[in-house]
Subunit: 326 residues, 2 copies
Amino acid sequence: MTGVSQTTVSIVLNERDDAAVRIAPETRERVLAAIRRTGYVADPIARRLAEQRNRFLGVFTYEPVFPAGLGDFYHPFLVGIEECAESIGCDLLLFTSAPVVDGRRRIFHSGNRLRLADGCILLGRWLDPEELARLLAEGQPFVSVGRRDDAGGPVPYVGADYPAATAAQVRRAVELGHTRIAYVGEGSGAESHTDRLRGFTEAVDRAGITGVHIRFGEPVDVMDSLLDQGVTAIFMEEFADGAILAAEAQRRLLGVPQDLSFVALGDPTRPAGTDLEFTGFRIPRREMGWQAVEVLSAIIDGTGGTMQRLLPCQPVAGTTLAVARA
Amino acid sequence: MTGVSQTTVSIVLNERDDAAVRIAPETRERVLAAIRRTGYVADPIARRLAEQRNRFLGVFTYEPVFPAGLGDFYHPFLVGIEECAESIGCDLLLFTSAPVVDGRRRIFHSGNRLRLADGCILLGRWLDPEELARLLAEGQPFVSVGRRDDAGGPVPYVGADYPAATAAQVRRAVELGHTRIAYVGEGSGAESHTDRLRGFTEAVDRAGITGVHIRFGEPVDVMDSLLDQGVTAIFMEEFADGAILAAEAQRRLLGVPQDLSFVALGDPTRPAGTDLEFTGFRIPRREMGWQAVEVLSAIIDGTGGTMQRLLPCQPVAGTTLAVARA
DNA sequence: CCACTTTGTTAATGCGTATTACCAACGTGA
DNA sequence: TCACGTTGGTAATACGCATTAACAAAGTGG
């Protein structure tokens, strides 16, 4: 239409004004006129092909991203992720097509689409160390939401500082006169569990009080065991289990917190029915999501910075932790 | 790695088994092994450029996909969308990078990335008719979640049958002896509003009773007006407004539903604090999301079928609709 | 033993853009 | 006049894949 080359159009479109490539104002105007007349828009696909990146950030979860029946544990993370992605002009690619094997999705599988994105955010309480190791080995840009142990190298993550948050709750209990307290939960497996238990154990040792660790199971049995051991405050790894155990306490006519204190070490990861306002702390999920995108972005761009961040949890006063019963 | 050409890899990758192009099973296996070992994935951008398809479904919302402070109105849609996308092996691309102009995102803008996806799902109570018209004109595959008026042509959608659901509630009220009922809300603007009002008006006319329509505003004024007109049942366009108005009724010591009945025409689109279990209906959001993907998929594949679907809403008995006060 | 088919693989090409190297034409100073 | 910038622009190429025509090797029938 204008008799100029494709190159010239490209230069005009991208408003380049290097010294290296110059276009006469008059020519530029001619091209712009033609663009206006035809409503021409550069094909974004071809553009991406040429530029070698697509400004997609992948989001991978072992469970569905939008869990159907559940109390939206992931949601706040996604809010933060979306906000930050928007601020840096990236789109989010949800890997919904990952096939399910043995009840959960796999990162690596035949037809793995991970590299569709410039980088990837991993969500989930537990991540397969082998898959993490492989991601590291292959140099795939990624970041985990939640602290991860090394997997053949340091894993980039943005996590919650469970040890500090848990320890703070223990100190609070000690101030209120508790001398025999319990940690109820796995305490192993996922890093979020080991971190809580570690914070608990260290704080208990430092305070010189007695801490017991038992796994959750039949509420009746668990409560029997706890009462046998003279425990006055119960630290729950899982909020929902805490609700169950507190109900069991009330069934026995034990007052919460007059007779027995409860501390919930984080937000519910599954729906929990309870009237109690649990004492404990809040995981900064939205902020974690936001910062995860920041870290990932830094990795992709090759700009350095801390690739492992622990964010403080916000204490929640609640009503389930009181002075220890004499 | 395997000593074969790029062509061979492409053929194996796409599982082509034309008579025209054959690969020996042994060679195929060698290539597959290498693919598994390296986790290689074809670049979707290049793929798209060459074959014009990438198995991405775009999701566009005028508001953030993951609204921060709000009662998750979009969430159930997304659950359905994700489930169906997973079932047909597509990934979801969230257009979080769409720039905000005049307080909302725009579909079309310079650097518009819509064409990155094979097709696009549009979410939101209101969609700009001009943008819809342009999508139609350009032949962009898309589907709207929620019914839309024609915009220079029929718009593909999967919506909720508000007229039928609203009319059913009106009939229910008539059965209970109500003869003067009100529709409170905009009744215009978004299709979801006009549809509700239309269902209301038609049902009222057919039943031969009196229906009044007033906009929501200061609760005190609205309630004054409604009581002046002798209204005994109030149909609320917005759930949250209904909660506010019901609170105003109770403030005046009017019993709900003994003295005044309320019907909520759908689920809350914003957080609503209330103890009442509102009578009304439930929008089949998850199913709408699912079917939207089905429709979009059919459009992309060129297989025909109904491009406009209205799904029935599920009635909710609730406790706020009772026999009209004498 | 030759023409002819079948099998397995690849070189070449196109998709629409960004980028780079290079090239005319046109001064400019000595 | 000659060597040397400067200006304005373009041809060529890369990007990573899908597709197609072509081709070598092996088999087959007469």
